[in-house]
């Protein structure tokens, strides 16, 4: 009790709950008015297309082949990109953790750096590289591997490439953190007991870094399905995702109901993702 003088103190120093209210209310009021309420109304609006409560908006959405295709594409892209990021992420994280301590800091910095640079610039770089007369095609032609340049840009593949580059750092960081917290020599112990690298990965690394995997995977999946710039620029209008579809419905088709439905689906996915993250954080703090 005595050493917890901190909390006893704050009770007196804060004297009035009024002081707390003055400090906190502006921020909470702002978030409520500028974000929570508009979003809530948006979601509610999708259930009241003509004033009365109904799911006809959703029925229409799910019966439109174009929209359904966008939905499946979005999920597909999310899963594929996340899977690629997990594979590459582990490779990178293992290499970083295995590096010398001095190099490690720099490598992590190098990994964080792209996150700060404008996503427009990052995506445009791929336009240059993957374009019809871009770097990759130029190389392929020059090496004689093909006569005609490939169509890489404006395909789903290009979107994968762009998104992996965008989100890979976000996968690597939690994995590095998880790997750093591995009990020392666990891998060597497994190897000395006769485990091959596959076994080491599946039965030792994966379970022990599961938390970091879930965190990174959730962040990457959430970011991927809600991404706009990359699918818009690299995928074009022929390969719509929920996000690009949403924009199109607002800016071009003026179908606000379907835009709202798409938005609500995106929100649901994001909220689910954040709940997963919350759960992981909660179990972590319970155990520590």
């Amino acid at each position: 009790m005595e050493r917890d003088g901190g909390s006893l103190t704050t009770r007196a120093m804060s004297a009035s709950g009024r002081a707390v209210a003055i400090l906190v209310t502006p921020a909470t009021a702002y978030v409520t008015l500028a974000f929570l309420l508009p979003v809530a109304v948006l979601i509610a609006g999708t259930f009241q297309p003509n004033g009365a409560l109904s799911v006809s908006g959703y029925a229409r959405f799910f019966s439109e082949p174009l929209y359904l295709e966008a939905l499946w594409r979005t999920i597909r892209i999310g899963v594929v990109v996340t899977a690629i990021c997990i594979a590459l992420g582990y490779a990178m994280a293992l290499a970083i953790v295995g590096a010398k301590a001095s190099a490690r800091g720099q490598l992590i910095g190098l990994t964080i750096l792209p996150l700060m640079i404008s996503p427009v610039a990052r995506t445009y770089a791929w336009v240059v590289v993957l374009g019809h007369s871009g770097l990759l095609n130029g190389l392929l032609v020059a090496l004689g591997l093909t006569d005609q340049p490939f169509r890489i840009l404006f395909t789903e593949g290009a979107v994968y490439v762009g998104l992996v580059q965008l989100f890979l750092p976000l996968m690597v960081l939690p994995l590095v953190s998880a790997l750093e917290n591995l009990p020392a020599d666990v891998i060597s112990a497994a190897r000395s007991l006769g485990a091959g690298w596959g076994t080491v990965f599946w039965r030792v690394l994966l379970p022990l870094t599961r938390e970091g995997l879930v965190i990174g995977g959730t962040i990457v999946f959430n970011g991927t399905v809600t991404a706009y710039i990359t699918p818009a620029v690299l995928g074009g209008t022929r390969h719509l995702t929920l996000a690009t579809l949403l924009y199109q419905q607002v800016a071009v088709t003026d179908d606000l109901l379907s835009a709202g439905v798409a938005a609500t689906i995106l929100i649901a996915m994001s909220v689910a993702a954040s709940m997963v993250l919350r759960r992981v954080a909660a179990t972590r703090s319970r155990l520590s």
Partner: protein, 257 residues
């Protein structure tokens, strides 16, 4: 094993960073069309982009918006973060969750919701709409980074100041603020960069003649066949790198991320 690790790492970093180098190289192409590899290297397009009136005004707009939104996010976020940490009111966790909520959903949703239910009904001018959206987007970052800084602040020096006669406001100004200065600066830089780079919400809320720079770049991408977008990207990338390096050197930015 070591060398395999190094090779793998090298390839992946090439993948992550390579495209930037391509863009930077392409920006120095002297010809009229975007070409890679570039030849006739010159600063022509870099200069052209800097002197372009439209880009200039977009740039200034983005900067002004980022500064204003950062300031607002900090003005709202610092007192809230302080109250949550120091006074630990009932429901602090809920409030904290509330203040982080904008970061959960994509800017796209924020832009749409604001456009349809706030901007249009209230007939807000474009700049105001952008300001409102960006402030909401930045607030979670401001609260989180400042909280990290406040968590390391000791209660006892605040008590000492009060007992020496300082009012709570004076104590906050003389003792708390100077000691969280680096955290506040880190939050400011992160917020500024986030706002400057923001696209989805800004896309919804821009109007004719009022474009933020990244939105302008995106919209021009398909229409423009010269290296000007590459030049812009190069300038932005270099500027970002300079800011981040400076921040890391002076503040240890990575500690707050």
């Amino acid at each position: 094993m070591r060398t395999l690790g190094r090779v793998v790492l090298g390839l992946i970093y090439l993948f992550l960073i390579g495209p930037f180098l391509v863009i930077i190289a392409a920006a120095f192409h002297g010809g009229d069309t975007l070409t890679f590899p570039p030849h006739n290297l010159s600063f022509r397009w870099i200069i052209a982009v800097i002197e372009n009136d439209d880009f200039q005004s977009d740039f200034l707009l983005s900067v002004a918006l980022a500064v204003a939104a950062t300031f607002a996010a900090l003005a709202l976020g610092i007192p809230a973060a302080y109250a949550l940490i120091r006074h630990r009111p009932r429901g602090a966790e809920t409030i904290r969750g509330l203040l982080s909520s904008p970061v959960v959903v994509s800017g796209l949703v924020i832009g749409l919701a604001l456009l349809h239910y706030v901007v249009v009904p209230l007939n807000l001018p474009v700049m105001v709409a952008l300001f409102v959206a960006h402030t909401a987007i930045l607030l979670p970052y401001a609260v989180r980074v400042v909280s990290a800084s406040l968590a390391n602040l000791r209660v006892d020096i605040e008590e000492a100041a009060v007992l020496l006669g300082a009012s709570r406001l004076k104590m906050f100004r003389s003792i708390v603020l100077p000691n969280i200065r680096n955290g506040v600066l880190a939050a400011a830089i992160l917020s500024f960069i986030t706002s400057f780079n923001e696209v989805p919400a800004s896309l919804f809320l821009t109007g004719p003649g009022v474009h933020t720079l990244p939105v302008e770049m995106m919209l021009s991408m398909e229409l423009v066949y010269d290296p000007s977008i590459a030049a812009l990207s190069t300038l932005l990338t270099v500027a970002t790198l300079v800011i981040v390096f400076a921040a890391e050197r002076l503040l240890g930015l990575s500690r707050y991320v």
